[in-house]
Subunit: 339 residues, 2 copies
DNA sequence: CTGAAAGCGCTTACAG
DNA sequence: CTGAAAGCGCTTACAG
C-alpha cells in the first residue's frame, strides 16, 4: 500500500502538506500542490480509511439498523438500502449493515465499538426501543419512519396523510362512495405498534367522516390466504362496498382472488387501489393493481443525506423528509356499476 | 469513550496486558485477568474498531458488492444480504455495502482505501469484469454465483444441476413427457452472460435428450406481459406440452395468465413448476406455484463464512458451497390429462 | 505557505 | 506472566 509518507518523499514535502492538499484543509501554493498531486497519481495513493478515522475521530461510516424481519418490507427494503448506500457514496461515506433486532442491548454493543459516526433505523415502531439507546449514547441518528413522539428527531417517512387522501380522492373522483380499507393485522411486528397502518387508518376515518360515509376497516394477515378471507368477511358484512384501498402487499393477490370467487369482478364490480404498494407487487396481481408506490429509494437516500448533513454540522436542526407515494398504473379502477 | 489506558490504570496493569486479556493472545495470570475484566466491565470498555484495525492490519470489515440492478434478484437479494450480515456478525465482522456496478474502475477506488479485508460479489456474470480487479489488487473475495472459469475461486452458488433435475423428475414422476422450459431473455443484465439460465438450459437439454424428448425453450423478458406473450408463443408452436418449468419470477404470473386466456387451466391441462423462484412470488401466483426456492439466506451466509475463514487462514483452500433449491408447495402440479 | 511533532487508541515484537 | 516502547497511517494545533 502507498502511504502519505511515500507521497511526501517523492514530492519533497512533509506529510502534513500532503494531508493539506488531499483534504483541502489549508492553502497550499500552486507549485507544491501540483508536485503533490503528481506524486499521488504516479504512486496511486489513496489515504487509509482507518488511519483517517482514528486521527480525525470521524469514520465516515454510517450504520443501517437492519432487522431480519422477513415478514415485512421485503418489497421495498431493498430500495431503502440502495438509496441509503447511494447517498452515502455521494458524500464519501460508507454504509454498514447491522442485523440488529429491536434489541437495545445488542444495539449498545454495536455502538460501543465506535465503528460508525451515526445510525439509520428502519422499520421504526411508534414506541421504538432503539431510540432511547441512541439518545443515551449520544449517537446521531435518523429514522426511516416515525415514532409517535417525533419532537426533535430527524426522520424520513412516507407522507401517509397525503397518500391516503390521494387514494380516497381517486376513488371518489370515479364516483365511489362506499370505500373500505384493508390493513394488516397489528402486532405482527412484536411489542409496539407499527406506525403506517395507524396513521393511514386515522386519515381514512377522518376523510370518511368528512364525507359523511361509514368507515369500514378490514384486517388481514400478510399472506394471500388471509387476504382472500378478508374479502369474504368484507362482502358478508358490507356487500355494497364498491371501492377498496388495500395497504398490505402480500394479502392483495388473495384479496383479489377472494373477490373473484365471491363473484365480484375487478374493476367492473369493485375498484381496488393499492396503498404504499410496491410496483412489482402491483404488476403481478390479477388484474394489475392501480397503486401508490412507496418512494423507497428516495426515503433511504433522504435519510442518509440528512444524517450526513447532521454529522457535518451537528448544530444544524434535524431535517425531516416526508415524501408522498407515487401513483402507478393498473387495471383495477373504474366507475362503480350503475345500481 | 473508555480507552484501554483507562482500564489499565484502574486495574494497575499496562495496556499491553489489557490487550492480552481482551484478545486472549497471551497467557495472563488468573488474578490479573480478573482485575482487568472487572475494570473493563465497571468502565464499560469496548475496544475502538479503527484503532484495532490500524494496529492489527485487519479491519474485520467485509464488503458486499451490491449492483443497483432493480431488474434482477430483488426477490432474493435481501436474503443474501441478511445471510451475509448475519454470518459476519457471528464471526465478529461487519458487512459494508458497496453500490458498485460491474465497473472495474469504481471497484478499484473503493478497494484502495483499505477499508475492508475482503469482498463478496453478487450478481456474478460468466465473464465478470470485477474478478480481474480483485485478483490484481490481491483482495480476498468470494463470489455468490460462478464465473464460467471457476478454477481456484471460492464461491457459493445454487446447485442448478440438481435443482433442474429435481424439477424435471418431479414432472416426470407425475407422468409428464412433453416439458418446456421458460427462461429470461439473455443480455438483460448487460455485457456478459448470466450463468443461471445458461446452466439450467444445459442441464434441461441434457435430461430431455436422455429421455428422448424434444427440448422446447421459450424466452421471456422479466415482466408479466412478456410472460403472457411467452405462453401464447409456446402454445402456438407446441400445443402438446403438458409440463412447464419456469425460471423467471417476474414473468410467471403473466405466464399463468397467458395459459388461462388460451383456455388452458393449471394444473388440469398444464402443470407448472417454478425453478429458483422466491416463495413469496410463488405464493401470489394464481394458482400458487409449486416451486424450488433459492437458498438465498444460506448462500449469503455460506459466502461470508467462506470469506472470513480465508481471512483467518489465507493458506486454506477456497471453499465452494453449492446449495440446492428447496421444494415449496403449490397447487400447480397434477398428472397430465388423459389424451 | 510549510513543517516538526504530538496524538488518535490500539497491537505486537522484544526484554525481562 | 508482565511491561516499555515502537509502530499502524493519518490529522491537527502550534510555530515559523
Amino acid at each position: 500500500m502507498v502511504r502519505m509518507q511515500d507521497v511526501a518523499e517523492r514530492a519533497n514535502v512533509s506529510i502534513a502538506t500532503v494531508s493539506f492538499v488531499v483534504n483541502g484543509t489549508k492553502p497550499v501554493s500552486a507549485s507544491t500542490r501540483i508536485r503533490v498531486e503528481t506524486a499521488m497519481s504516479e504512486l496511486g495513493f489513496t489515504r487509509n480509511a482507518h488511519a483517517r478515522a482514528l486521527a480525525s475521530r470521524r469514520s465516515r461510516l454510517i450504520a443501517l439498523l437492519f432487522p431480519a424481519l422477513d415478514t415485512r418490507g421485503n418489497w421495498s427494503a431493498l430500495q431503502f438500502v440502495h438509496g441509503a448506500s447511494a447517498a452515502a457514496a455521494e458524500r464519501d461515506h460508507h454504509l454498514v449493515l447491522w442485523p440488529v433486532e429491536n434489541d437495545p442491548v445488542a444495539l449498545r454493543e454495536y455502538l460501543d465499538g465506535g465503528l460508525v459516526d451515526g445510525v439509520l433505523a428502519m422499520e421504526v415502531q411508534l414506541e421504538d426501543p432503539r431510540v432511547p439507546v441512541l439518545e443515551k449514547t449520544g449517537t446521531p441518528f435518523v429514522l426511516i419512519g416515525r415514532t409517535s413522539d417525533t419532537s426533535g428527531y430527524a426522520f424520513a417517512d412516507i407522507d401517509f396523510e397525503s397518500s391516503t387522501r390521494t387514494a380516497l380522492a381517486e376513488l371518489h373522483r370515479l364516483g365511489h362512495r362506499r370505500i373500505a380499507l384493508v390493513l394488516e393485522q397489528p402486532g405482527a411486528l412484536g411489542d409496539s405498534a407499527y406506525g403506517p397502518p395507524v396513521r393511514v387508518e386515522g386519515v381514512y376515518r377522518q376523510v370518511m367522516a368528512e364525507r359523511g360515509e361509514e368507515a369500514v376497516v378490514v384486517l388481514s394477515d400478510r399472506d394471500p390466504a388471509s387476504g382472500a378471507d378478508a374479502a369474504r368477511r368484507l362482502l358478508d358484512r358490507h356487500p355494497d362496498v364498491t371501492g377498496l384501498v388495500v395497504m398490505n402487499d402480500e394479502a392483495a393477490p388473495g384479496l383479489l382472488r377472494g373477490l373473484r370467487s365471491a363473484g365480484r369482478s375487478v374493476p367492473e364490480d369493485v375498484s381496488v387501489l393499492g396503498l404504499s404498494m410496491a410496483s412489482r407487487m402491483a404488476a403481478v396481481c390479477e388484474p394489475p393493481l392501480a397503486h401508490l408506490a412507496p418512494p423507497g429509494y428516495e426515503l433511504g437516500h433522504a435519510a442518509a443525506l440528512s444524517l450526513i448533513d447532521h454529522l457535518d454540522d451537528p448544530s444544524a436542526p434535524p431535517i425531516r423528509s416526508v415524501l408522498p407515494c407515487v401513483l402507478g398504473d393498473g387495471e383495477s379502477l373504474a366507475p362503480p356499476a350503475a345500481p
